[in-house]
Amino acid sequence: MRYSALKVIKESLTGHKGWKPVWRSPEPKKHYDIIIVGGGGHGLATAHYLSSQYGIHNIAVLEKGWIGGGNVGRNTTIIRSNYQLPENQPFYEYSMQLWEEQEKDLNYNTMVSQRGILNLFHSDPQRDAYVRRGNAMLMSGADAQLLDQNGVRELYPFLDFKNARFPIKGGLLQPRAGTVRHDAVAWGYARGADSRGVDIIQNCEVTGFQIKDGVCTGVKTTKGEIKANKVAVCVAGSSSKVMSMAGMNLPIESHVLQAFVSEGLKPFIPGVLTFGAGHFYVSQSDKGGLVFGGDLDGYNTYAQRGNLPVVEDVCEGGMAIMPAIGRAKLLRKWGGVMDMSMDGSPFIDRTSTKGLYFNGGWCYGGFKATPASGMCYAHLLATDEAHPKAKDFKLNRFLSGKMIDEKGMGAQPNLH
């Protein structure tokens, strides 16, 4: 079923009886060419691009819960490509380009809204660092503009520019960045993959791998054993848990990141805004709620909830730049479990087991990377060669010394 304005008009006149589920719920077959473990955004994007770009259709996506119930539905929906290393910035810019054509590609309204992201700076050295970042962005083909205080004032007149501790001196703006409706991303990719014959199997937990003589030949699941030529793990947040079943220890710790939504307010934040001196980033959803987040809680956890000190820290960050939100009530908060890697960068690579592939370690950067992660993982699975944009996301980079440590923090995952 293709969506069109004509179809919407027709359905609205006939009581909306013609809409059907957008993907099937098949039982697993005995054998697939490729099994993707994890039906999150990245797994579904991988299945979509494998079937649409690489002509492989005999694929199963196995999801422990339901589509859209994991991290793809627990993030703050921000997309951007404002990194600065040659190993990661071209990848994120590629992702941004895929976001820009996503709705057309999927024939699905994912509500891609390029409302711009503004990273505030509060001191002269920080401005210099942002100039450098902006130049790195421009060199990768992305867009970047440095705004002085008046430039920021034009966009966000209500900020606390004269804050005694962290006065706002300006900001680095990426106009093409923005937000996307995250559930729609999961549903759109699921629909795209399903329409090309991919089996999306929900409520099917992988409980083990079939590995013999260093070759992975399939998985054990709660719905029985399934054979495959290639098994592609894509379960960021639970990577260590799943890969330990294949006998692997990863350079990853699991941490919780909290996100928050305020009560609905009239539109007043036009884009995405980040505090440069603490942990606070905010956008306003189409329903009017302020969607914001901050820093990790900082300790290993698989619980999808955090603790109160971080709530206080995030809200203080918000108050430091926009005291106007002080009387808005917090409506709800939740936590998502992150794969925090040892250098703050992800992995898209094969493993030492033949036929077993790994995609994970996305830290806070998973959602914005969804399309490029899917495309690059699909490329690796289809051709057995790393995609040029993701060739440095290797599992052995800590042994070879080619870390991608944008923050320069070293092997301390809770600081990335």
Binding site: S238, S240, K241, S244, N249, L250, P251, I252, E253, S254, G298, Y299, N300, T301, Y302, A303, N307, P309, M342, F398, L399, A411, Q412, P413, N414
Partner: protein, 103 residues
Amino acid sequence: MIINHPLLGPRDSSEFVYLGDASLMNRPQWKGEEADLVKTEETIKQYHDYLYLRNNPAGEHQELWYHEQGDRSWLVVTRNTTTHNISQVQMAKDVALKTLREK
């Protein structure tokens, strides 16, 4: 989270800094000059595993917390990573000495 400090009693976890898996106390030993170190592939592999790989279990986890806003002692905390329930708190020094004695 409340961490029951063996010397100071129950303290809020926000007084502490978290380092990570308590296995970070068990740095691989090497003999001879440091120059030999870079030559030995096995030692490099051991250091790589020590520094970069983690068990990262869902469940009981032994981890290092530093009481920065207090007595600046290092603690080994046994905590469940799915419930945040803390079952044991020891002085890191005691744990290290015990490991040494058992060697």
